[in-house]
């Protein structure tokens, strides 16, 4: 009695049809269980628990797999971006951009159906690493392309194309976005050092400023995160990256004129001279 009225109520309140169905199924099977004799009612109840756990575990497994695929393919995009050099910028970024789109269409799309309703937060641990890596790759691409930060809103807007109208769009949550940004600094550090040895000093300067600003913004957010401790360790790593870039930029600034012969390039890099003089730290 109570169960059926509860189910009715659930249908009336229906806002998340998918989830409600799950609940209704569960409730009705629980009701079945209760009508049995005492001993088998225990068995009956536990078989519904078993179904619930099996479904949950299978779903979690699928999400973890998707997350792993997202991670490894996003890493590939990041590696692609690191192949950038003075002459091939357009073509390298073009490929990175396409690969990134593939990650979204093929792998992130798999998450949409799995993370409806409360599962979005329930399974966060299962998908969070992949999403963070994706944020890292996407923001890195955007920075290299236009020197700006890819906003969470923009990312989420592009994700909404993944889902058909029957599903809620998958949205990256603030926490994963911020954690992804914190990781971005490490990649930008590598990029900056690479650009310096390639002679692109202006680009390195740009990275340096960008990274400083992100570090500063994130500093304020640390205590408000859901896991402040994890964020703290990330911030320390981040600061190390920032300092590394700053030191590299510093050394160019101080010994800029001596740098050119050290490079030993056969191409006379006039641009370097101009840039080195022009830098204003």
């Amino acid at each position: 009695m109570m169960c059926s009225s509860a189910i009715q109520k659930l249908y009336v309140m229906a806002s998340k049809p998918h989830r409600l169905r799950q609940w209704a199924n569960f409730q009705s099977s629980a009701k079945k269980a209760r009508t049995m004799a005492t001993q088998s009612s225990l068995k009956g109840a536990f078989s519904t628990y078993a179904d619930y756990l099996n479904n949950l575990n299978e779903k979690r497994e699928r999400v973890v797999k998707a997350s792993r695929d997202i991670t490894s393919n996003s890493k590939k995009v990041i590696f692609q971006v690191h192949r950038i050099s003075k002459n091939n910028k357009e073509e390298v970024l073009e490929k990175a951009h396409n690969d990134l789109a593939t990650v979204m269409d093929q792998y992130i799309a798999r998450l949409v159906k799995e993370l409806q309703g409360s599962d979005f937060w329930k399974l966060r641990r299962a998908y969070s690493p992949g999403i963070q890596e994706y944020v890292e790759a996407a923001t890195l691409c955007r920075f290299c392309k236009s020197g700006t930060l890819l906003n969470l809103k923009e990312m989420n807007a592009s994700l909404s194309s993944l889902s058909d109208p029957s599903h809620e769009p998958l949205q990256i949550n603030i926490l994963d976005y911020i954690l992804g940004l914190a990781d971005l600094t490490g990649e930008l550090m590598r990029l900056a050092i690479g650009r310096i040895s390639d002679g692109e000093l202006e680009f390195a300067e740009k990275i340096c400023k960008f990274v400083r600003e992100i570090h500063r913004e994130l500093t304020l957010l640390v205590p408000h995160m859901d896991e402040p401790h994890d964020m703290k360790t990330k911030m320390e790593t981040m600061l190390q990256s920032v300092i590394k870039i700053e030191n590299a930029c510093f050394s160019i600034h101080v010994r800029g004129s001596e740098y050119i012969p050290l490079l030993g390039s056969d191409v006379p890099s006039y641009s370097l001279i101009g840039v080195a003089e022009g830098i204003d730290l």
Partner: protein, 307 residues
């Protein structure tokens, strides 16, 4: 060559460049040095950025996201929004924590009532005292539900904050229920008692199962004390109950998690109860008035053989 050069300079660089902005500067007007350069890039990209739609976003607990019409938010704006959203979630969490503390103290009171059973107080009295707290618990859970209603679907974001308290609550409820009926309190029954029987704010099954495992930890002590108090039939009943419970748990495919660990502990409770049962039985202390038909008939057979 470059690296030695770099390391030589690095110490100087630190003193020359006491970067990142000091804490006091953080609260002031933002990024004076960085801004101009970035702004130029930003303006370059603004035209290219796709206009974004405002979404019914799962990530936004409060609808505090201001506006959303600008094609691309500046860096600082976005982080300001983040900060206000995260601050909202922090304050929400604080409110949750206050209620959870009350729940914790209620479960503690309930536990202390249940402990009267070891002081050989009559069972109805113990149960009355324990059950008196259920209403309070239900009340407190409805407060929790009210808080969580502000951010639908984020149940599991904050779930960890009341998880262990709920497991304890289930443990005590199930123990009281066992004392009263000799049966296991099922998940939907536990949910009803706590007022956690709806889709938005329900009793998590894993929490329920952990709570049941906690209850089983209580049973060896119960059996030992009951026997000491002269209830020699108790071990058999509890043994039967725990055996069934153990069999039921073995139907579950558990992951290598907390629940699994707790379930692994259940067999030690069963073994301990078995030992007590054995001790009582072998000394002929177990009562003859066994209610199960099986044993009655067996006894009849035995007596016939004697005659």
């Amino acid at each position: 060559m470059k690296t030695t050069f770099r390391s030589a300079c690095s110490t100087i660089s630190r003193s020359l460049n006491p970067n990142p902005p000091s804490l006091s500067a953080l609260h002031g007007p933002r990024s004076t040095v960085v801004a101009p350069l970035l702004r130029s890039f930003r303006s370059r990209c603004t035209t290219r950025a796709p206009p974004f739609r405002v979404l019914s976003s799962v990530t936004h607990c409060s609808s505090a996201m201001s506006g959303g019409e600008a094609p691309a938010l500046p860096l600082e704006k976005q982080f300001e929004d983040f900060r206000s959203q995260l601050e909202d979630s922090v304050s929400l969490r604080e409110r949750i924590r206050l209620v959870v503390m009350e729940i914790e103290s209620t479960t503690r009171l309930m536990y202390s009532s249940l402990l009267l059973v070891y002081l050989s107080r009559p069972l109805p009295e113990v149960l009355d005292k324990a059950k008196a707290h259920i209403g309070t618990l239900k009340d407190q859970y409805s407060q929790l539900a009210a808080i969580l209603r502000e951010c639908p679907d984020q149940y599991y974001r904050y779930h960890g904050d009341w998880r262990s308290e709920t497991q304890t609550a289930v443990c005590h409820l199930a123990f009281a229920h066992y004392l009263e009926t000799g049966n296991l309190l099922l998940h939907n029954e536990a949910g009803e008692k706590l007022g956690l029987n709806n889709s938005q704010f329900g009793l998590d099954i894993e929490d329920y199962l952990v709570g049941v495992c906690f209850m089983s930890n209580e049973l060896p002590r119960y059996v030992v004390n009951q026997v000491t108090a002269g209830d020699y039939d108790c071990p058999r009943k509890v043994w039967k109950f725990l055996t069934e419970l153990n069999a039921a748990f073995r139907m579950l495919n558990l992951r290598n998690d907390f629940l699994r660990k707790k379930f692994d502990g259940l067999k030690y409770d069963l073994r301990r109860v078995e030992e007590v049962y054995y001790d009582v039985k072998i000394r002929g202390l177990a009562s003859d008035g066994d209610s199960t038909g099986d044993q009655d008939s067996k006894k009849k057979n035995d007596s016939e053989v004697v005659h």
